[in-house]
Amino acid sequence: MNHVIDIEGLRVVRGGREVLPNLSVRIPSGSVVGLLGPSGSGKSTLIRAIVGVQVVEAGSVTVLGHPAGSPALRDRIGYVTQSPSIYDDLTVRDNVRFFARMLGAAMDSAERAIETVDLMSHADVLAGRLSGGQRSRVSLASALVGEPELLVLDEPTVGLDPLLRRDLWRLFHRLADGGTSLLVSSHVMDEATRCDRLLLLREGHLLADEPLPALLDRTGAADAEQAFLALVDVAEETAR
């Protein structure tokens, strides 16, 4: 199996706190990998390390065969931050077109991205006038332009209505079927059922790295949340 992301012994300290003590993980290509864990577990820090904006104490992060943050990666990765990073005083279309121009992508790729996140009806509205969920879709569309090989999405479905959430997960799988690799974080354990493979993170430690059925099999739990609790129990048992 090919790996898009290969992390070895990653250690990250933020604000004097060891957020990721020593993390090693490989992420397969062409699938939707869910990075699940409670808030504060280190999901965003891990994502920041992968896109190369995080100062790292130790360890290596290799993305698409290059060290994370290499210039060679900058037009191959789409990154969506947790809070929508868009310009409120630009229209939806101008936002997406700006990021398309930055990547040297064609303008029709911007139109397709707006279509994909279902915002065509709001294309000429200022982003600041939109709802929170709509703004996060503008942020997503801005990452879809230029068809990146790897999409790294930090909590893209937070605060969206169930219908939209379902549509977005369908979109993620459609992209994966087309060969895109996706890493999607969420603090909602229910979203485990939508992922091809799960990474369960707690306090900077990886509790699980497997598909959901294998995880349920191993723990004997009924769903991802129960499995998470069972694994936390085991981890605390061994720590004692």
Binding site: V13, R14, G15, V51, G52, V53, Q54, V55, V56, G69, P71, R74, D75, I77, Y79, T81, S83, P84, S85, I86, Y87, D88, D89, L90, D94, F98, F99, R101, M102, L103, G104, L126, S142
Partner: protein
């Protein structure tokens, strides 16, 4: 750096400004109102002719400093900067894109304010208007460059606004507008000789006094351009792709 991406940044900054009619109006109207007030309170005296040209250099500097430092700070706090730094955009593209966009706004501001000062307030100007506009644009880009640098040290918008008096007012006091530069206390003279706004004001005064000032102001313009280059360079060092 890449000229296309620099232009893309500049275009985006102008597009954002275009939506904000109030900011554009303030940038164009406030200097005129202040110049008009000044001409009015010193009506019948030579004071306006003495300090008017210098103020045409100070206004674009101050306005661009504030606008740029707040705009770039917004870019940092909204997360768009972090996102942009994961794209092929170079740090120079961002710095020069902002400088270019606000430089264009400065041309507009300088033309409007100079026209108002000369034709409405009867400012007595010996040199040609286009040289005055060149100096005003250089001052505005200087304000933009220092604003970009200052925003690197601000964490909140409150701090960014406070940097205006911190960066600008000392230069204003020492630039020769209140007390002629060679009559300053001897300790302050060398400081005044280093600060860029002093050269902006000197250049404006020469444009006001000489009918062919271009050769005379070349050294002042060179100092201003050197400050612009140094500030942009230092400012780009405050843009880090990786943050803690």
């Amino acid at each position: 750096m890449n000229p296309t991406r620099t232009l893309v940044v500049a275009g985006r900054v102008l597009r954002q400004l275009r939506v904000d009619h109030r900011t554009i109006a303030l940038m164009l109207v406030v200097p005129c109102v202040l110049l008009g007030l000044l001409a009015w309170i010193f009506d019948g005296t030579p004071v306006f002719d003495r300090i008017g040209p210098a103020l045409l250099g100070v206004f674009p500097f101050v306005v661009m400093f504030i606008v740029t430092s707040v705009a770039t700070l917004r870019e940092r706090t909204s997360g768009t900067l972090e996102r942009l730094l994961t794209t092929p955009m170079g740090k120079g593209d961002l710095m020069f894109g902002y400088a270019l966009a606000f430089g264009l706004m400065a041309v507009l501001q300088a033309v409007v304010a100079s026209a108002f000062a000369i034709y409405v307030c009867d400012l007595d100007l010996q040199g040609p208007v286009w040289v005055l506009v060149i100096v005003a644009v250089a001052d505005a880009v200087l304000g933009t460059a220092l604003g970009l640098l200052a925003s690197g040290f601000a964490r909140t918008e409150f701090q960014a606004v406070q940097f205006m008096p911190a960066f600008v007012l000392p230069q204003f006091l020492l630039c020769g507008l209140l007390v002629v530069r060679d009559q300053l206390p001897s300790v302050l003279q060398p400081i005044s000789d280093v600060l860029p706004l002093s050269y902006a004001v000197d250049a404006m005064n020469e444009v006001a006094a000489e009918s062919d000032p271009l050769a005379g102001i070349a050294p002042e313009l060179a100092v201003i351009v050197a400050w612009i280059g140094a500030s942009l360079l230092l400012g780009s060092l405050t843009l880090r792709r990786r943050t803690p």
